[in-house]
């Protein structure tokens, strides 16, 4: 058997690295694909192109935004719509039962059941959008809450998104 020289060893290592890299990336693609398919199956009721903050940020921080907003609204009467729970329900109510909870296919309940996190907003808050609300809150052009949300999003500082990305 020939003892590998430094040069052949280097080539071998390089090819190993390439194989590994390809393998890992294909794994990542497979994982990503499966996850998004699962999420798509789980979370029905998503209107518009984007949420009030980037999706990754919302997944991690929506509860903080909601809690902060809740105290401002309750005690000071600040009723901006960007982080309003009513706004969540407007966009994420399922087309099937017009609600964010009820089955594990519903937007809020689905993810909370998956993550095993108790959800008690809706013991008091309405699970359904207001009957006369704009049909398509973010994408639609109807005035009302949707227009307010677009305005708030335009004015909102995007610093939180940068923070979450780090």
């Amino acid at each position: 058997m020939r003892i590998p020289t430094i040069k052949t060893m280097g080539t071998w290592l390089a090819s190993l690295a390439v194989v590994l890299a390809v393998g890992v990336s294909s794994l990542a693609i497979a994982d990503g694909g499966a996850k998004s398919a699962k999420e798509k199956a789980m979370l029905e009721g998503v209107k518009g192109d984007k949420c009030v903050m980037p999706t990754e940020d919302m997944r991690r921080n929506h509860m903080k935004y909601l809690k902060h907003h809740r105290d401002e609204t309750m005690h000071q009467g600040i009723r901006t719509t960007q982080f309003s729970l009513k706004g969540c329900v407007e966009c994420h109510a399922s087309p099937k039962n017009n609600s964010v909870i009820g089955t594990n296919d519903n937007f809020c309940q689905g993810c909370h059941a998956y993550a095993a996190v108790k959800l008690d907003c809706f013991e008091c808050h309405s699970t359904k959008p207001k009957a006369n609300a704009a049909f398509h809150p973010i994408a639609g052009q109807a005035p009302g809450l949707a227009a307010d949300m677009r305005k708030d999003m335009a004015a909102a500082p995007q610093t939180n998104a940068a923070g979450a990305a780090q």
């Binding site: 901006t80 009513k86 959008p129």
Partner: protein, 249 residues
């Protein structure tokens, strides 16, 4: 710095503060005569907090209020999605009260609800801070903090508060309500913040017996009427400075 110098500095600070306050008051006066100020107050921008420049209140004319009419009560139930049951424990944010003077036989009818006191006993007794008074004088319950102890129900001289005993469904998205918390008239705070400038009960009253307005604005109709006609607080002896006042009782 010697003791005397310190004293002088403090006095100067005090004087400066006084002058600043004077300037602020003068500026306030300068704006006040403008009718537009009222409009601005009504349509407060969504990102602005409620201000103590306003004090929302009601004037109820019991001489106009009809015995047997329940329109305001029904409007309140509808607006706040309160289910009307027949249980004693069902929530009731507003109720009709009939008064009879046994000596003269004179009867008066009036709606009774949270009086939105300036010195609310419910806020005094609340152990968690859930019961609070907003800057514009509206007394509310923060259900996120309320533990359902019901001290406030006992403290309220007007029996204005209710406890929610059972699970609720189909709430109005603007009016969250739920089991285990105390609740009461919110003076239709969601309507006020939206800029409606009225409450459901005031809107519903065909007799015009309920007038909503800003008690702090001397130009508002409610202030003018209060200045012109005699009115009274219920249980004025408690000196709670209620936001709801009555005429004709």
């Amino acid at each position: 710095m010697s003791e005397q110098e310190k004293q002088t500095t403090i006095e100067n600070e005090g004087r400066r503060g006084f002058v600043a306050a004077g300037v602020a008051a003068a500026a306030g006066l300068a704006i006040a005569p403008g009718v537009t100020l009222l409009d601005v107050a009504h349509a407060r921008p969504a990102d602005q907090p409620a201000s103590s420049k306003n004090r929302w209140g009601l004037l109820i004319d019991s001489t106009k209020c009809k015995t047997g009419c329940n329109d305001c009560v029904n409007a309140c139930f509808t607006e706040n999605a309160i289910k009307q049951g027949d249980k004693e424990t069902d929530s009731q944010w507003i109720r009709k009260v009939e008064l009879k003077d046994l000596r003269t036989g004179h009867t008066a009818s009036l709606p009774m609800m949270c009086q939105h006191c300036a010195h609310p006993p419910c806020v005094d007794v609340c152990p968690t801070g859930a019961s609070f008074k907003r800057a514009d004088g509206i007394v509310l319950v923060d259900r996120h903090i309320c533990i359902g102890c019901r001290y406030c129900m006992m403290a309220c001289p007007y029996k204005a508060r209710s406890f929610v005993h059972e699970e609720l469904h189909d709430q109005n998205p603007d009016v969250p309500r739920g089991m285990g918390c105390v609740e009461a008239c919110t003076l239709c705070v969601h309507k006020i913040d939206r800029g409606d400038g009225t409450t459901a009960c005031a809107q519903a009253c065909k007799e015009g017996a309920i007038l909503f307005g800003d008690l702090n604005d001397p130009e508002s109709e409610i202030s003018k009427r209060l200045a012109t006609y005699a009115s009274t607080e219920v249980r004025a002896d408690l000196r709670l400075d209620t936001g709801v006042r009555y005429q004709g009782i």
